[in-house]
Symmetry: C2
Subunit: 419 residues, 2 copies
């Protein structure tokens, strides 16, 4: 399958410049980027971009996709009550069928929002894998093992899911320090060393979590895991709201990824991660939506926007962070964070995970600065097309691999079973 | 022109309940809301809503529409520098032609974002009126008079624009206390008394503004204007970020409208209005986007969302404000604030200013709570139709009264003239 995009503005994300020209894909890869030129082979499809922008797909670097079941549910609780009173009791009732359909709903939301990969932490991994592969969605699992279960199956999934399908991969992870006792942390750590693999976890999401860790271990979660050697082969943390300067130094020294989830943190009253401090300190950063229950939308545009303006609000400056660095975090940063080294930028030989931004949307005009237009003003309505692994899965509002009517019907039908 | 909407979910905004049924419009008004029934006259069009939601259009209760020219421009400045270094010099160069086209771009953004009226403060009122009337957009002007001009023309516009076209109205206003000397404030005040009319102004947007007023007059802007009698016939203020408890008491006592602009305040580093305090105090509230230069999008969905979660962040509570009260502020609150008493809710006899929310968008599913879905998760992609005064102006991405290609072309062509 060869597709030619012409009359395009191309934002490769290797720089903040938009180049005018063509992009060709061949099967799952980008074959050519550059000026218009003849091709010696025919194309299966030729798309006139009419000046619209091609750019790498957004990468949702922290989410719980199947939690769409909990959107607009139990919005009245802060993190602790929300988890223990509303979410955990319902999660006990989840079956493969629930996870299959509610994940599919999330994948539809990702595709319509220009998201081409997610880094997902949840249960019922087989059902979710099936849902992702059927959709053609690029899916990286992060294990959510904790004291309630999952520690003993990490190794099984590590081997199985990393050789299952080109769209699927798996990273060692655990839910959080506060849900995982020292003995279980050590088991995760041993596996990380056995496979020389990076490890990911929720970290410093709430003030109470950090205070609890200090009581239990006399130090912050980042310091504890660092001392254990948990990050000897890299990895990263989700949220990073309550990081100390020392935590940031640990993450910087080890080259770990800090993944921000601004909407979820605001919603649950957890706080605001000082994104500008991570950027000023030249750290590796990525962005995620967290689950729908605590967001409530799964929009990377909203996350990127908030990462800029919340830093403004905290510093009292109008340009506390460079919007291009935020767009990098939302695209190439996320890809590298979750091990998708071939999905980070638009370049010949890279994977064809590409989105098209509709420049005829009023919010994308005028064209004073296209990167700023995208970071400050875009929403899902600006996504004209989403391609993953060379397949166009969403175009002009239509899903090619998801029956959205059926997905909507099934999700609402299944909802009462979780009440 | 009679239009029948059937198979609809109807959120009248008189309550938070969604009723199933039909809505009929006849010319500019809502003729019927209720169960399916036969009509003795024929319809010009019958629309199967397929379970999508009809609700009152969003009301943008504070904006500077033509400032779309400054989107993604000079994002590096805080309010004072932004105004004096980037905006004022360009505004001096603005002609009728600029205002006509850049307003039209804003109207397109409003329509695609479910906004059916705006409360606009800017110059070149004739050009903007022409742009609005040609578009079919409902437009309420608020004068922006200050020491640089406009005080002497308020009365002229008050009489002219309030009898010009059913879509156009005009309110007495001035830019702000810090740009309007006491003598000019007195002139505005005299007119308000002569016409027994409400008055609107930017108020307590930045800390520096309030401190400056205290130095000049020994009190806050709200206290100053209250003492002068400026609000004897009602009105309201835009921003209200740095209101004291006493300022809130003044506004409550006089029944004045507080209009919030969360995105703009974050972007410019001006601060965060404690929306929850206004709601807890049972005050009249409305919501606006401010201009594109300081937002940068003109999305009421983003504003409503932020008004909820920023209150969560400030209070550390997950439900600091009721999302239904925020949706009321964004619809009926805005309408009443700007004097559109017939555009506040869906009800027989009210104006047909109606939008349709597309429930097939993934972010609108599942249907745990439709009001929360809209406030916490909707964006412009969820707007399937926008009707103003009984005319469908936007439907499935198509504008019926705006040539978007031409608007985009003209805006970019005119941009260099303002450099």
């Amino acid at each position: 399958m060869r597709i030619r995009f012409y009359n395009a503005g191309i934002l490769t994300m290797e720089s903040d410049k938009v180049i005018k020209g063509e992009l060709w894909t061949c099967d799952d890869k980008i074959e050519y980027i550059g000026d218009s030129k003849p091709s010696d082979r025919s194309f299966d499809r030729e798309i006139d971009c009419k000046g619209n922008i091609l750019m790498p797909g957004l990468k949702n670097a922290h989410t719980h996709s199947a939690m769409t079941f909990s959107r607009s549910l139990a919005d009245e609780y802060c993190l602790n009550d929300w988890l223990y009173k509303a979410i955990f009791p319902r999660e006990k009732k989840l079956t493969d069928e629930h996870v299959y359909w509610f994940s599919k709903l999330a994948f539809a939301e990702y595709l319509s929002g220009g998201i081409t990969a997610c880094f997902d932490m949840y249960f019922h991994l087989e059902a979710q894998t099936r849902s992702a592969v059927e959709t053609g969605f690029r899916h990286v699992f992060c294990d959510s093992a904790n004291d309630f279960g999952g520690i003993d199956t990490i190794e099984h999934y590590y081997n199985e899911l990393n050789s299952y399908d080109p769209l699927i991969s798996y990273k060692i992870g655990f839910h959080a320090e506060y849900t995982t006792c020292e003995e279980n942390l050590k088991k995760v750590n041993e596996l990380a060393h056995k496979y020389e693999a990076p490890v990911y976890t929720h970290i410093s999401e709430t003030k109470a979590e950090v205070e609890g860790c200090r009581e239990r271990y006399g130090c912050t979660p980042a310091a504890l895991l660092d001392k254990m050697g948990m990050f000897d082969y890299g990895g990263g943390g989700f949220h990073c709201v309550w990081f100390t300067d020392e935590d940031r130094e640990i993450f910087k020294k080890r080259g770990l990824w800090s993944v921000f989830n601004a909407c979820s943190n605001l919603k649950l009253g957890s706080g605001i991660a000082p994104v500008y401090k991570f950027i000023d300190n030249d750290m590796k950063i990525a962005i995620g939506t967290d689950g729908a229950g605590s967001n409530n939308a799964l929009s990377m545009f909203r996350e990127m926007y908030l990462d800029t303006v919340l830093s403004n609000a905290e510093t009292g400056k109008a340009n506390a962070v460079d919007p291009f660095k935020i767009l990098k975090a939302g695209t190439s940063g996320g890809a590298l964070c979750m091990g998708l080294d071939d999905c980070d930028v638009l370049k010949e030989g890279k994977k064809a995970d590409i989105i098209m931004i509709d420049m005829n949307k009023p919010s994308m005009q005028p064209e004073n600065n296209i990167v700023r237009n995208i970071v400050y003003s875009a929403d899902n309505s600006c996504v004209k097309m989403t391609m993953i692994n060379g397949r166009i899965l969403y175009e002009d509002g239509i899903f090619s691999s998801i029956d959205i009517d059926e997905t909507r019907r099934m999700c609402n039908k299944l909802l009462p079973e979780l009440a």
